[in-house]
């Protein structure tokens, strides 16, 4: 370990970051945050403007 200080540091940082990301959660996936959604959405769900609305795509079989 002391023969490879840079690799040791790199590995420890990498493991630390990866463990934290696994624990707390971190993703590049398609989740977006929208702020200030009104309480009225619970009564009128259709009024919510979803980022991914009106998605139309045909994906057929083989």
């Amino acid at each position: 370990m002391f023969k490879h200080p840079i690799f040791a540091l790199y590995g420890m940082l990498l493991l630390g970051a990866a463990s934290l990301a696994s624990y707390r959660g971190f993703t590049f996936s398609d989740v977006d945050t929208v702020r200030g959604v009104p309480k009225s959405i619970r009564d009128n769900p259709g009024a919510y403007r979803a980022i991914y609305s009106s998605y139309h795509r045909y994906s057929g079989g083989k």
Binding site: G25, V34, Y52
Partner: protein, 429 residues
């Protein structure tokens, strides 16, 4: 006790400084003289011979690790490989108590050599011929006929320009074993690769040593030992990673916060709806929203929003689910999946609900679907550990490649070069 004599060839002054000298070279005309005869009988003479200047002046003394030595003789020796002549310099060093040793120099690479008073044994070897000496394995590097091209100074044995010997070199960097065979008699010597700077310091030579060109046969690899240790460190990190995985799995079993079944038929009014409210406790955690459907040769699109009822923050995601199957000439086939999971990272505690908006083709084959929404919180996201593991592979792989390329360059100069990649060098698996 210096003896001053006259060269019988050129009449110049010949000084004999060492009592053990058998042959001496006239500094003026380069004739090889028999130092044991009072009149200095001429053994060999030349006309217009090329002169070489020793980098270590003869008569100068150097402090080596094993004691102080005086440079008393210098010769240039050369081998010919594929029509190309390679020459190296050899300095004979003397200490009247400790005896003789040699320094050799080729292209700025130095070796500290002495005769071996043991006989190396033949080692078992898969490919190249190898020898064992004191627990180390020396691999055959080169066999060549070395010719003496130039001599200068005093020698306690016979020297002649043009004299040839068969030289075999075996390497175990930083050591080298060499045999010199003349008329059936084998003389072994052992050398240690020595940095030029050490020679310059030992002999107090002026200026900086000429830089070493290329990689020498027994030059120690800067990567030697590092390959094994980087992989060992990689192994250690892998163990830590597996441990972290187990710890996360034990500490974070996950919590099923919400689970409900729904059905959907397109074209039957407002598709969007909200789920009942559920609570998240504790700190920031992953939230996994899983949708399982009964889709058959159909697709559905789900707009999902996890909305915090207290703060109005929404995590918005859209997922397409499609599952197709059938039979063709190859037999059964299927494509896609009936379910999907959206992971929302770092969701704080609070009261939440889901706003769901399913979408399907109006004239879809089965006209709708049944599905289940499961919300789980606090399960570890292992993908990061897997990615970290791949990133950890990079440094040892690079070290292995560099070590392999260094050895390639070393062996390219040997009887076995240019080295073809062999499975034995594939240590980066």
């Amino acid at each position: 006790m210096v003896r001053t004599l006259e060269c019988p060839n050129c009449g110049g002054t010949v000084q004999l400084k060492y009592e053990r000298t058998l042959n001496a070279v006239c500094i003026q005309c380069l004739s090889v003289l028999d130092a044991t005869t009072p009149a200095l009988q001429i053994l060999q003479k030349f006309q217009g011979a090329q002169r070489y200047e020793p980098r270590i002046p003869l008569g100068s003394r150097g402090k080596l690790a094993t004691g102080e030595y005086e440079a008393i003789g210098f010769q240039m020796r050369s081998i010919e490989v594929d029509g190309v002549t390679y020459s190296w310099a050899e300095y004979l060093l003397y200490n009247p108590y400790r005896g003789y040793r040699y320094l050799t120099e080729y292209n700025g690479h130095w070796n500290d050599i002495r005769t071996l008073r043991a006989i190396p044994t033949v080692a078992k070897s898969m490919s190249k011929e190898a020898l064992m000496h004191r627990g180390a394995k020396y691999t055959h590097f080169q066999t060549a006929t070395a010719a003496t091209a130039f001599v200068m100074g005093e020698f306690p044995w016979q020297v002649r320009v043009g004299e040839t010997v068969e030289v075999k070199d075996y390497v175990a960097p930083p050591s080298t074993l060499s045999s010199e065979t003349t008329a059936g008699e084998v003389v072994w010597s052992i050398g240690q690769y020595t940095p030029a700077a050490a020679v310059w310091t030992a002999f107090g030579l002026p200026g900086a040593p000429p830089p070493a060109v290329g990689i020498y046969a027994n030059q120690p690899s800067p990567f030697k030992g590092r390959v094994a240790t980087t992989w060992a460190l990689f192994g250690l990190f892998s163990l830590v990673l597996i441990l972290a995985m187990f710890l996360l799995a034990i500490a974070m079993p996950g919590q099923r916060v919400f689970d409900r079944k729904y059905s959907f038929a397109p074209g039957t009014g407002e598709p969007s709806f909200v789920t009942p409210i559920f609570r998240f406790e504790g700190g920031d955690r992953n939230v996994d929203v899983t949708i399982n459907t009964d889709l058959r040769n159909d697709w559905a699109y789900l707009s999902l929003a996890l909305i915090n009822d207290d703060t109005g923050v929404a995590y918005d995601a859209g997922k397409e689910i499609g599952y197709y199957f059938g039979t063709d000439s190859d037999g059964q086939w299927s494509e896609g999946s009936r379910g999907t999971t959206v992971t929302i990272p770092g969701v704080p505690a609070g009261t939440y609900y889901l706003r769901v908006e399913p979408e399907m083709e109006k004239d879809g084959r089965y006209h709708g679907m049944n599905y289940e929404i499961v919300v789980e919180r606090g399960k570890p996201e292992y993908i990061w550990l897997f990615l970290a593991w791949f990133a950890l592979l990079i440094p040892p792989t690079i070290t292995s490649i560099r070590a392999f390329s260094f050895e390639n360059r070393r062996w390219a100069e040997s009887d076995y070069g240019p080295l073809v990649k062999s499975s034995s060098g594939d240590d980066d698996d």
